[in-house]
């Protein structure tokens, strides 16, 4: 058994964020209080998640537990479920969210009209709450509801920056997301009809019965395909990723960081949970979904980078790179082994730490270049905002998979995981190609920002990065190196988490 305090943490963390979101509109407008409230709430949840992680991995404690939401246990009421993996992910989500907010504090203030800042905070809180709920939930319909909250909040967070471009991007994002959630909803209905349950474990039992009796195989396959496709659209798997660069490239930096680093990951983790907890890996393999996911992941890894190569706008470039990175995660999921899913989860964490850093860095750099985002406009900005420059360099190294940086750890574990399966050659080839392509667009960016140019910014006096910016960047960099150097205990933890998922 686990102690009382830790037992209530999953519920408490969702609840805290929800309450923070609800209270925020009541706070005085045009002040900094809402932002501070969000930051403190997220920090509190991060601390709680860290404690939960500690409690769950403490020797002698049970590794995972269920938390009934209300007076009625499992098949009758809703339920949350927490294990090491969920705890790690919620910790990472909160930390990355907090750093994205603090790192972009000043650019948020510039981009968002004062009247909207309060609403931005509400949306951030709701987004965090929905991410936490997606992480912890053990019920498919709850997952759907929170996916919808996530969708609306994510689109609104794109549109929070005033301007025609963002409205268009948000609308595009919204339409694609709605297609996705429609498919998910149809699939949930089919699954409910076939199993009579909405809770993941009970569904799993019913599906195993169906599979052993070979009944209802077509509906089962179709529902799996629909739910995967729906969530894949939301998590920007390549052929469905056309909305992503618009949405992530035009919004304010904090929004881009949050969307790229975290929102996609919430959906991907939901897919992982559905694969692992609802269907089970054997059924997935039997229905051939693993191969499909694997191939799509491969394609995404290459095509995301190819698109990124053609971008001239640094934020769009980073956004397309997210598409490639999502491909890595799906590659891991498509391996359909515990090791593969653990590697995918590690990459989720790595990417959740690196991508916000890259966006924050890009924001800092384009700020230093006078709000220009074209690649050539960033020339020499390293010397104006060194912290941002360091962030971009570290992020680039990480994305290229240089040993010692976060990205290498996940690439290594992905490769090692793929050695167990028959597709190792494909996985290796794709990893290698994607790394080279990553380098081909990140290194020129790094070169540009490090290219000295005396006259380019003469007319523009760039603001110095604030202390908060430096601090967030420092934490980001530390996290990056930490993940690169100490990935083994983390990977072990994740593997334990996946085993009890």
């Amino acid at each position: 058994m686990i102690n009382m305090f830790a037992y209530n943490i999953p519920f408490a963390s969702i609840f805290i964020m929800m309450v923070a979101a609800i209270v925020t509109p009541l706070l005085p407008k045009r002040s900094r209080i809402p932002e501070k409230l969000s930051c403190y709430a997220i920090a509190l949840v991060a601390v709680l998640s860290a404690y939960l992680l500690y409690a769950l991995t403490y020797p002698g404690q049970s590794l995972s537990f269920n938390f009934p939401m209300g007076h009625f246990p499992a098949p009758w009421g809703n339920e949350l479920r927490a294990g090491p993996l969920e705890a790690v992910l919620s910790l990472v989500f909160c930390v990355a969210m907090l750093l994205s907010l603090t790192g972009n504090f000043s650019s948020t203030a510039e981009d968002i009209a004062p009247g909207r800042r309060q609403i931005f905070c509400v949306l951030v809180n709701l987004l965090t709450a929905s991410l936490l709920a997606l992480t912890y939930t053990n019920d498919l319909f709850t997952a759907y509801v929170f996916i919808e909250i996530n969708t609306i909040a994510a689109c609104a967070i794109v549109a929070v920056k005033e301007g025609a471009e963002t409205a268009r991007a948000a609308l595009r994002y919204l339409v694609m997301s709605l297609v996705g959630s429609g498919l998910v909803m149809i699939a949930i209905c089919l699954l409910y009809d076939l199993t009579g349950h909405l809770l993941m474990q009970n569904m799993h039992g019913a599906i195993l019965v169906l599979v052993t009796t070979k009944s209802y195989m077509i509906p089962l396959t179709v529902s799996l395909a629909l739910i995967t496709a729906g969530l894949a659209i939301k998590s920007a798997l390549y052929p469905f990723a056309s909305w992503l660069p618009d949405a992530h490239g035009t919004s304010t930096n904090a929004s881009s960081a949050i969307l790229s680093g975290l929102v996609l990951k919430g959906h991907i983790f939901t897919i992982i949970k559905i694969f692992y907890r609802v269907f089970g890996l054997d059924v997935i393999h039997m229905l051939r979904m693993d191969t499909a996911i694997f191939i799509l992941g491969l394609v995404a890894m290459i095509m995301g980078s190819v698109h990124a190569l053609r971008q001239n706008n640094v934020k769009r470039m980073i956004a397309w790179s997210s598409v490639a990175q999502v491909g890595y995660i799906f590659l891991g999921v498509g391996l359909n082994t515990t090791a593969g899913i653990a590697a995918a989860c590690l990459h989720i964490i790595v990417h959740a730490c690196v991508k916000p850093m890259l966006f924050t860095a890009a924001g800092g750099l384009s700020n230093a270049a006078g709000h220009k985002k074209g690649l050539h406009a960033l020339m020499g900005t390293f010397y104006v905002n060194t912290w941002a420059g360091l962030g971009l360099i570290a992020g680039a190294c990480s994305m290229m998979g240089i040993p010692g940086f976060a990205g290498f750890a996940s690439k290594l574990s992905l490769t090692l995981a793929s050695f167990d399966s028959s597709v190792v050659v494909w996985a290796l080839a794709a990893l290698a190609t994607s790394s080279v392509l990553n380098a081909l667009y990140y290194v020129p960016a790094v070169i540009v920002i490090m290219t000295h140019h005396k006259d380019a910014h003469k007319n523009f006096t760039a603001p110095k990065p604030t202390k908060l910016y430096k601090f967030s960047m420092f934490i980001f960099l530390t996290l990056n190196f930490y993940l690169g150097l100490f990935c083994v205990p983390l990977l072990r933890l994740i593997t334990r988490g996946v085993n009890v998922l």
Binding site: G163, Y192, G374
Partner: protein, 144 residues
């Protein structure tokens, strides 16, 4: 297959409707129609779900008095209440989404004067080009 479809006529209709809705959502070029498509799809899915909860010859899930101050609680009397609950939640979600999407559409129209997302893109790209040309000129002036 056809007689099975005739047996499951609610589901079949729901599926056709959701197909139409999805197609509208994906391929209509007019945003208002896209949003109507979204609504059609949502209601179709709810229809599907509610049809799955129906059981022939049973009453709505509101307890009936048995005449002696008690309540009839036999599960053979009432239809499945779960789909109704889920659909209630779903309807709220779809209203919220519709309102949000319409608000965004109005925003888009305010900026671009069109309800077509591709036309908006085209306009934006042209503008972007002019903008970039200006920026480039300025850059070159600074550099030279």
């Amino acid at each position: 297959m056809l007689e099975k479809l005739l047996l499951n006529h609610y589901e079949a209709a729901a599926v056709i409707l959701s197909g139409i809705g999805l197609t509208n959502l994906l391929l209509q070029r007019n945003l208002i129609k896209k949003i109507i498509g979204l609504n059609i799809m949502d209601t179709a899915v709810y229809l599907f779900l509610a049809a799955k909860g129906y059981v022939e010859g049973r009453a709505a899930p509101i307890l009936i008095e048995n005449g002696s101050g008690g309540w009839l609680t036999s599960s053979a009397l009432y239809v499945n209440p779960v789909p109704a609950g889920l659909v209630l939640t779903g309807i709220v979600v779809s209203v919220s989404v519709t309102a949000f999407a319409l608000a965004l559409t109005l925003k888009l129209y305010e900026s671009y004067g069109t309800l077509n997302i591709d036309e908006a893109l085209l306009k934006m790209t042209e503008e972007q080009e002019q903008l970039e040309a200006v920026i480039e000129e300025a850059d070159e002036e600074v550099l030279s």
